[in-house]
Symmetry: C2
Subunit: 350 residues, 2 copies
DNA sequence: CTGAAAGCGCTTACAG
DNA sequence: CTGAAAGCGCTTACAG
């Protein structure tokens, strides 16, 4: 191993500049009181050597790495291959990374740190963002126990008030979609949720049940594994539409892929979408935009939500006041062919 | 500060178990030779205390954090707000994160570590992925100098053979698009690239020039700032289509937003797309799919490319052999309305 | 089979 | 104005 193979440390700089490590550290960080010409010399030597403080060593000493982590709960239900239809999370992550950089932080994408085989590195961050916590989320419990500051996006369904969170307005959003389906002509509306016990599934279900009660409609709910994707949606269409009695004329599928599959299945069975059956999706995705007919979907504004979450977490880390009453950005309903009947002039959203 | 406010360290475990730190470390990591009942006891105490080794301290000691970083060059040209049209990068990042997790690593999204104000943390990874390096990329130079292993996705245009890279087949892709435009009826094809000096812009330009030479067509090239987005594309349409002589009847815009703006600008000027003018985009994005008419775009397969890049980097880190001759996945051309003339039956791609 | 000691590369009171 | 020493939480030869 030749000498130039290793990156220079503070010792190399100190030796070459003829001062102590302390002085190098102080000079480079503008701390303590160091003579002007000493500072100058240390800087020059550091430059010559290409010295850059080791972020890990500094992190160990200062307990501040300059890294925030992001745990996207629903991503774990999605197995290996990256499917179409997870656009929300990709956009969320990308936007969070940019927001973190604006504050001088890097963003680390992690898997569940509470899971046995999890990379050790998943706990090596100054703070953590948890998107869509699951019921009684062990990751939140772990982070709380380890005293790692965090912000959840969406509340833990079983502990809504225990932890700092950006509360998603899932119940209100559910009303938005169901109202739209009814106004577009549906009388009997089914809900298809995922099986994952995250806040999104739980709160959408709760919203649906409340809406159904208010409209004197008996709930018609099916759950479907997220990983089943488009194919699962197809089977579900066969299941729900085959029954002679209690057949829905409107369906709200939370995931874009289920909705896409449901439409395909309905068409196979001879249904005309939207004339015989209205379908909406709870998550805007490539598949809902490009399928035929295109599918009305809820745009949950991942980009804006991510930025709000990052800003809140960093305020928390840096000891600033955080306004926890601020909600996530208002969702928008993208109205498309799957709920637009011929002759029914639906007003465009404002 | 109460005692239970801090997370337990190896010292706490050692004390409570009545052994040394060495023994705790060895017992928990299965190293050395430790008595069975000692291992048992140490494990139990560690559990009780909720002890989890500090990843930063371990990283310092072992020079291995379990983190790989990702620098997406073109993202930096895109300023603050996350625009529509950067789908490629978001999908790339999300997919890379999943691939990293499969190997027990976390993925950190970073900004240019060679830039003065960069977060220190951007150098705190075991290895780095650089997507679309720029000319003579200072980040590659820095990583090389710091002996941080890295893999580029797309070669440095000025140093194509100097560093390990997944070579993108941008020149071949450019031929694919240009051939399609010609087969669809275009005779005079302009190229609109970004101003960013990354490998993608450089190689697409080179491909265009070669194609033009082979087809005896005088090159007609414009560059347009990536940040100008849709609006920039609009202006460019006015500029290129206003000139009485040498007006193109086909345009290849590398970015989806430029293409979208170009189509809008052309329509304002009274052009019919695709009848009077064919337009294609070099990057598949939400805007190209949802604009009217929808725009033919190149799908560069970000998901598959990211996985290949992560696998290669981790092989490199873990000292395994890497086949650098493997290319990125073959791009697909999504043919849409903007290049499909009425009466021209274009065969669907296989 | 176990532990004292050194050390990873830094920063931070504190003494001079 | 500067530096010796301690310490962040671990791991790793090495001695016993």
């Amino acid at each position: 191993m030749s000498i130039d193979a290793a990156r220079p440390t503070i010792n190399d700089v100190a030796e070459r500049a003829g001062v102590s490590r302390t002085t190098v550290s102080n000079a480079l960080n503008g701390k303590g009181t160091i003579g002007a010409e000493t500072i100058e010399r240390v800087r020059r030597v550091a430059d010559e050597l290409g010295y850059e403080p080791n972020a890990v060593a500094r992190g160990l000493r200062q307990s501040k790495l300059g890294v925030i982590s992001l745990l996207i709960r629903p991503l774990e239900s999605l197995d290996t291959a990256m499917p179409e239809g997870v656009d929300y999370f990709l956009r969320f992550a990308g936007s969070a990374a940019l927001a973190a950089m604006d504050h001088g932080y890097s963003l680390m994408l992690i898997s569940d740190p509470a899971k046995p085989g999890a990379p050790r590195s998943s706990l090596a961050a100054d703070g953590c963002l948890v998107e869509s916590p699951i019921r009684n989320d062990p990751a939140l419990t772990l982070l709380d126990r380890k005293r790692i500051p965090f912000v959840a996006i969406g509340v833990d369904p079983d502990r809504p008030d225990d932890f700092p969170a950006i509360s998603q307005q899932t119940e209100r959003d559910t009303f938005l979609v169901l109202d739209h389906l009814r106004e577009s002509g549906a009388q009997r509306i089914a809900l298809v949720t995922g099986t994952d016990e995250n806040s999104w599934n739980a709160l959408a279900r709760r919203g649906y049940e409340r809406w159904a009660a208010e409209h004197d409609m008996a709930p018609l709910i099916r759950t479907l594994d997220e990983t089943s994707g488009v194919e699962g949606g197809r089977s579900m269409a066969h299941e729900l539409l085959a029954e002679a009695s209690d057949r829905p004329d409107g369906v709200y599928c939370l995931t874009g892929r289920h909705a896409t599959g449901f439409v395909a299945g309905a068409i196979e069975l001879g249904y005309d979408v939207p004339e015989d059956l209205l379908v909406a999706a709870g998550s805007d995705a490539v598949v809902t935009r490009t399928s035929t007919p295109s599918i009305t979907s809820l745009d949950m504004r991942p980009v804006e939500t991510a930025r709000l979450a990052v800003d809140s977490l960093i305020s928390l880390l840096e000891g600033e006041a955080v306004d926890w009453s601020s909600k996530d950005p208002t969702s928008l309903l993208a109205i498309r062919d799957s709920t637009t009947r011929r002759g029914t002039a639906t007003a465009a959203p404002a």
